[in-house]
Assembly symmetry: C2
Homo-oligomer: 472 residues x 2
């Protein structure tokens, strides 16, 4: 609970109209995609670093949590006010300050929607590659906090690879600028990349210098249908082994195909698995890569491979691909949505292992995702109201994590730890690593006021359950 003095001071800092304590407003800021709501005590809409600095300084002296929030599209609870406190929404900080066409950089505020930035830079013949599936809603600030990836990561990398420098407010309220506007820069520690992916626990980003690329001349989209999931998985390995790097290499299993066929009115002729593959670059190299990919798919027993027949079909295919995650809830009431990553060559082993887990627990597990970089979204489908099935689903996820780690992968490629995976990080990270991370958190946020309750497992006591996407 915030005192009246704190409430008055918050209003003074951000302006009367930009702070709310009304339950109907707070409800809107209690959610993310995990569907495990926690009500904050206040939501504020600051205009920039100076106001955020004042809020954080007060949070340290008065002892209340501060939770930075972009669009709240996260799958791991990163933006949830699990201990109450003040949600700092970046909604009013959504200016694209500069697109520098000479140096191929952009300077943006954190509330800019990723899609908006992409649209603007593409008008100038430039390209901002990171493309999380949420890109039409999620913000650059949220993407930076979670180090968002997306389909194009196989060729272009993730958000981390496009952040040159930041303006941020440290948990103790100091405004810092990190990094550079240039490709190189080695003065001091890499605070920029320490902040990227720190899930809003080490600082609040207030401006970002982003790297842009020239827009690829052309893109070709291929759709390959396979009778069996294992053939598709083998094709993925074969493509990488052939040293072709497509710009996307997406994988959809039969459960997801069914959903897409029913809900996006697409026809995949009852295939057992689909690869959605794009090559980009100069027209000549794209044709060459596409024909290599086609050949490899046919050699891997694809039943058909064809190019999308125009920009409308490409758009439809991607719309269908992006609709998988929400549409899955039409076949079962609940899902646990994980985003494990394995070395690409181990995808066939991962798929086989998941099939085995699915059979043993008698649960539908739907898989899709970014096969090109080994990042598979594993969706364990179940019904929350059935406690036996719910327990089974949680067991299945833990087994999927164990399998992933045995295959030398990681339990999260894009979604982050947040609240939903904090119980599991010890499976992946050794105690010395967790201790080093905690020491960094403690030295930068000695009072523990910035986004508390995230990433690190609680020392004692059970935690509120909350698997990723466990809700509807």
């Amino acid at each position: 609970m915030l005192s009246e003095i704190v409430k008055r001071e918050l209003k003074r800092i951000v302006g009367e109209a930009n702070a709310s304590f009304a339950k109907e407003d707070l409800l809107c800021y209690s959610y993310d995609a995990t569907n495990s709501p926690y009500l904050p005590d206040a939501v504020v809409f600051p205009s920039g670093a100076e106001e955020i600095s004042l809020i954080l300084k007060m949070a340290n002296s008065e002892g209340f949590p501060v939770i930075p929030r972009g669009a709240g599209t996260g799958f791991s609870g990163g933006s949830l006010p699990v201990e109450g406190g003040v949600v700092v929404s970046t909604e009013r900080m959504r200016k694209i300050i500069e697109i520098d066409t000479e140096n191929l950089t952009a300077l943006v505020e954190p509330g800019v929607v990723t899609w908006e930035l992409q649209t603007e830079v593409e008008k100038l013949g430039l390209f901002y590659p990171p493309d999380p599936t949420s890109l039409k809603f999620s913000t650059i600030g949220g993407n930076i906090a979670e180090c968002a990836g997306g389909p194009r990561a196989v060729k272009y990398g993730v958000t981390r690879d496009y952040v040159l420098g930041l303006e941020a407010v440290l948990p103790t309220g100091e405004i810092i600028t990190t990094g550079v506007r240039t490709a190189k820069g080695v003065v001091g520690y890499d605070l920029t990349r320490l902040l990227v992916g720190s899930e809003g626990t080490l600082g609040i980003v207030t401006k970002a210098h982003l790297k842009l690329l020239p827009k690829p001349e052309t893109t070709k989209t291929l759709l390959a249908l396979f009778p069996d999931i294992k053939d598709a998985a083998k094709a993925v390995s074969a493509i990488i082994r052939a040293k072709v790097v497509p710009s996307t290499l997406e994988f959809i299993d039969s459960a997801c195909i069914k959903v897409v066929e029913e809900h996006a009115k697409m026809d995949f002729s009852g295939a057992g698995a689909v690869l959605l593959i794009e090559a980009d670059g100069s027209a000549e190299s794209v044709e060459k890569e596409a024909s290599t990919i086609e050949k490899i798919c046919m050699e891997s027993r694809a039943s058909s491979v064809r190019a999308a027949t125009g920009k409308y079909e490409v758009k439809d295919l991607w719309k269908a691909r992006r609709a998988i995650s929400p549409s899955l809830l039409k076949i079962r009431p609940d899902k646990i949505n994980e985003d494990v990553v394995v070395p690409r060559a181990s995808i066939p082993d991962l798929i086989a292992g998941i099939e085995d887990i699915s059979k043993r627990h008698n649960l539908l597990i739907a898989c899709f995702g970014h096969a090109g970089d080994g990042n598979i979204h594993v969706n364990v489908m179940y019904d929350k109201k059935n406690p036996v099935e719910a327990a089974s689903a949680e067991d299945a996820v833990v087994e999927a994590f164990r399998l992933t780690l045995r295959l030398k992968g990681t339990i999260s490629g894009e979604h982050g730890v947040g609240t939903t995976k904090s119980r599991f990080i010890e499976m992946e990270l050794g105690p010395a690593v967790i201790d080093a991370m905690k020491r960094i958190k403690a030295t930068l946020d000695p009072k523990g006021i910035l986004n508390p309750g995230k990433i690190f497992p609680k020392a004692n006591g059970p935690q509120k359950a909350g698997f990723a996407g466990a809700g509807k």
Copy 2:
């Protein structure tokens, strides 16, 4: 000074033959490319993480400095034992443990020479892009500690972009593994990139998982001669503005051309500036890019542009380019070698400003470097024995730093801070940033035993002078 007990224990840990306290050995480990030697008390050659862990634990309990060292080719004093102590050389840790052609990764020990790794992966059709000029001698461990760059950074980025995960020993002796073997991974803070570029002050890297790329199908090397340096600088901007990303875009000014002509027996027909440009990729796209580049150079008043006529000429050109730095000392006895970076479009302003500084101080300033990413090696030539000239040279460097920062650049793109730039980091980084970095250092190395005296300016008292490459 180390006690007899410590010496005995060091021998016990690494083996009698792998520890030395003899002055003739210590002398060899007192140097780097700054030519400001500091004698260590011991040099040890451990076999891996376990031995390094024991050494660091003893350093904490007994209170002696530990200084990690690759090949000692650094320009900023990163590997110098400025407070004495034990040099930990990675010379015996030089195994390429694995090159994974399916997942395009390599697992290597830190003592592997960069060139060696490149040669091995290229045999398999793969490619490790980071190419510091020292690559025939410098090690992966040193490259990681300094976040080494090189000519190819304009297209391929720097060492940071190729480090997926690390095994490292923390200053307090814990062995940790960070990061992943995959392109994506967001479990906890990015300790991998915190270690990269931390100049051996936050941990000693004992293994590295590196990302590899498919080797580009072909490369074309162009040599463009310009009557005047300003035309060359404008051509660089125009190439980037045309959204062409060459794989290297190197710049050589007239002072450096003279050196190359005299000492590498090359003929550049008395040009005022040279650009050495490479395009790589598929044969078709390379031809297209090369012809765009050629056109732009001619439009920017190049006196000639031609392709290198075979692999021997390409080799000779690069040999000449790499010989610039050491050869400069043939025209003046001493140099201060800086590696400032400005946004690419500001290169003409940087060049004009440096010319002005050169005139005002009556000093020859030779410039060359990685124009494609704005990283210019500014070499202030002087004679150490002439105190007036030496003072002038230091003033000129400070002015070059100020100019760089005015142009929104950074005072070091590749060389790092070490001992030579610690006095200047406050010009670039705000006090809150330096404080945050110091807090991270203090929490991970509470006794301050790992590579002390680097990066951060000393609180009080004058420091031993030591500009980069100030020696012969």
